[in-house]
């Protein structure tokens, strides 16, 4: 096999798994095999997908961000409060909230880089901080009655006779953006280099500090976008939105074949991972007999399987590294 093809093998395997799952569900449940289900798969998982897209980039660099779920919750309630209480135009509110996210992310990145703290710990503090601030603003969910939100909640685009909701389009656009950053830009390649071997990356002239700070800023931006998508999707701002979602996002990234230690991965894989996650959930929903919690167990099992597969991959890389 050509090396280029071999590199794509894990991705192909994940895609085959998705196809098998989807076909299996379609065979088991009547009506699963429809365009509506497929489109819902996108819109139901848009929030999670946007988070996972950003998380992929952070994990490329060997880092992790636990604060994304809380940040999405904060964005959700901030936008609702701005629009409903202060009558700020929705677009301005969104821009304001997203800018705040990027700033918060850059702040966390700076602490991680300059004080050499584990990303895990700093973003854990971020989780507490953002969630607490969200509840500070309002402990209850706030419904948004604004024509723009109502319009966005419906089908925003029509393609080939099918309506696509705004959030589904946002998800695809977000994934494409993350893919461009991760695979077509120096930024993404630098992330992978840092995650692969930070010392080498430094010697090879990769700007470590700026890259690390930027990736947390970009990831927080994605988390903010996820919060925005959730707000549009539910038509309300909710301070407890996104609780625990950071873990689902990490799970999706890992199922997508990105190495949690950094240095190897793909945004496209994350997208496939997201669809696997979503398919399992819809299939269990379609079944109706199983507790929806089975989805979490299955995801846990998948996570275990993928991590063990990765483990053997790492052992291989490790062996080479040690000989070096």
């Amino acid at each position: 096999m050509k090396p280029a093809a071999r590199r794509r093998l894990p991705l192909v395997a994940t895609a085959v798994l998705l196809a098998a799952l989807f076909a299996g569900a379609g065979w088991c449940y009547d009506g699963f095999f429809s365009a509506r289900v497929a489109i819902n798969l996108l819109s139901d998982n848009a929030t999670l997908g946007l988070m996972a897209a950003g998380m992929t980039l952070v994990i490329f660099s060997g880092g992790i961000d636990l604060s994304v779920g809380a940040l999405a919750g904060l964005v959700s309630i901030v936008i609702a409060t701005l629009v409903e209480t202060h009558h700020v135009p929705p677009l301005a509110a969104a821009v304001l909230a997203l800018a705040g996210c990027a700033l918060a992310g850059a702040g966390m990145g700076a602490l991680i880089h300059f004080f050499r703290q584990p990303p895990f710990l700093i973003t854990l503090a971020g989780l507490f901080l953002f969630r607490g601030c969200a509840y500070w603003l309002n402990t209850e969910s706030v419904g948004i009655n604004h024509p723009l939100f109502e319009r966005l909640a419906g089908d925003a685009f029509t393609l080939a006779g099918r309506g696509f909701p705004f959030v589904a389009v946002a998800l695809v656009a977000g994934m494409a953006f993350a893919w461009t950053l991760g695979h077509e830009c120096r930024f993404g390649r630098n992330l992978l280099a840092i995650g692969g071997n930070e010392t080498s990356a430094l010697l090879m002239g990769v700007p470590i500090g700026p890259t690390k700070i930027w990736v947390y800023a970009v990831n927080s931006l994605f988390a903010g976008a996820a919060g925005l998508a959730g707000t549009v999707y539910t038509g309300s701002g909710n301070p407890s939105f996104g609780i625990g979602m950071e873990l689902d996002a990490i799970a999706v990234v890992v199922i997508g074949g990105t190495l949690l230690t950094g240095g190897l991965g793909s945004v496209l894989g994350t997208f496939i991972g997201l669809l696997i996650f979503g398919t399992i959930q819809s299939a269990i929903l379609f079944d109706g007999r199983l507790s929806p919690w089975w989805a979490r167990i299955v995801v846990g099992g998948l996570l275990l399987a993928f991590i063990l597969v990765q483990r053997f991959l790492v052992v291989r890389l490790d062996r080479i590294g040690r000989k070096a």
Partner: protein, 504 residues
Amino acid sequence: MPVVPLLTVRRLTKRFPGVVALDEVDFTAQAGEIHALLGENGAGKSTLIKLLTGVYPADAGEVRLGGELIRPASPREAELAGISTVYQEVNLVPSLSVAENLSLGRQPGRLGFVNWRGVRAHARAALARLDLECDPEAELGSLSLATQQLVAIARAVDRRARLLILDEPTASLDEQEVAVLFRTMRRLRSEGIGIIFVTHFLDQVDAVCDRLTVLRNGKLVAEHAVRGLSRIELVSTMLGRTPEQFSAVPATAADLAGRPPVFEARGLSRRGAVHPLDLSIAAGEVVGLAGLLGSGRTETARLVFGLDRRDGGEIRVRGAAVPLDSPRAAIALGFAFCSEDRKHEGILPNLSVRENLIVALQARRGAWQRLTRAEQEALCDHYVEALRIKAPDRELPISTLSGGNQQKVLLARWLATRPELIILDEPTRGIDIGAKAEIEHLIGKLRAEGVAVLFISSEIEEVVRNASEVVVLRERRRVAHFQGAEVNSANLINAMAGGHVPHD
């Protein structure tokens, strides 16, 4: 008109607390020349390289590249000035493709986008320049180490490198791989690049180098053309003695023959580490394991201690066959192993001197049979006194001690278990002269007490002084065995250096 040399180093000096690592060293390298930099461990080679590549700032002296004064503050700056380095550890990213590794940090493209076509074209050109046949799309980590090394060189000479420093690039390569590397080096030489080549393998100096510089104890000792210099002369320069001077240390304990061995191995082997070899050590005997770096000394010691699993061979301890497949099993048999890698395999940096000292004994007793605090303190005081460990407070973390004192604590850790066989792998590396002498004194005492000792050192004199029997390894094989009066440096050097020269 004389040509300006590519690199001139004048009176370069670097001091570290307690030592002068580099003492007013002069060094010259020409363009289109391969220049060997030689010296024993601690001679100052790596300090010189780190000063040239901007890892450390120099305390005094100057460096000129092509006549221009340079003061690189980082490896990056040195690279921009034209000095590129390839280390023994490949400093690339194994999870990325070859092409990406060649262009990382300087990818072609605009506005932050990577021009992948440009990256591939550039990679093909860089690989072609070295006649390197590998797929630019392949994941670097999937390639052999030698190819990775060559990719690193391709990257290093890619831009405006005028001087290439190769720091022990051959340490983990096999013969064929070395030949490929040499071909590449000659090719670069013909393109007018100056190469500084650090190696421990003297036949490689003969094979590929034009000139050589020898450092010893941080000082410049000699600069020679390689042609017309005999091996014995070279080794003498490196060690600072003539062969006659250091063949006279008398071997002791010749009457040990006939004593039953504590440890006996037949056909001990591990793929990629050691070819099958026999080894036997009797009580009260010091067996030296000699060989150049990479000859399989440490690997053999690790097999003896069960730290790595052996593929084949039989081990008998006091006459009985034992499985010996883990350090715990070895310790239960009364073995002890002082690793050469003090930092990674020796000290527990955040734990106190006391805890570091008792940990092996405690491990042997198990978690529930705790040594009382009084017993621990008595042990500490005993060894601090006996080994003259300079520790201001036994409750301070061991990382606050000097290297020599850390080493003594590690020795004490093993002595406290009252071992019957102790393996000392480079116990004197990186410690000061006084501590070295004390450790040698200790080896003598152990021998007198009837402990079997397996002693490994890069310093031939040390081996000769301490061992009554020496096994010489070369290229991961046992090639010679000396006993009694045969144990002298001339014999050892001959056996160690006797490999044939890899020509291509």
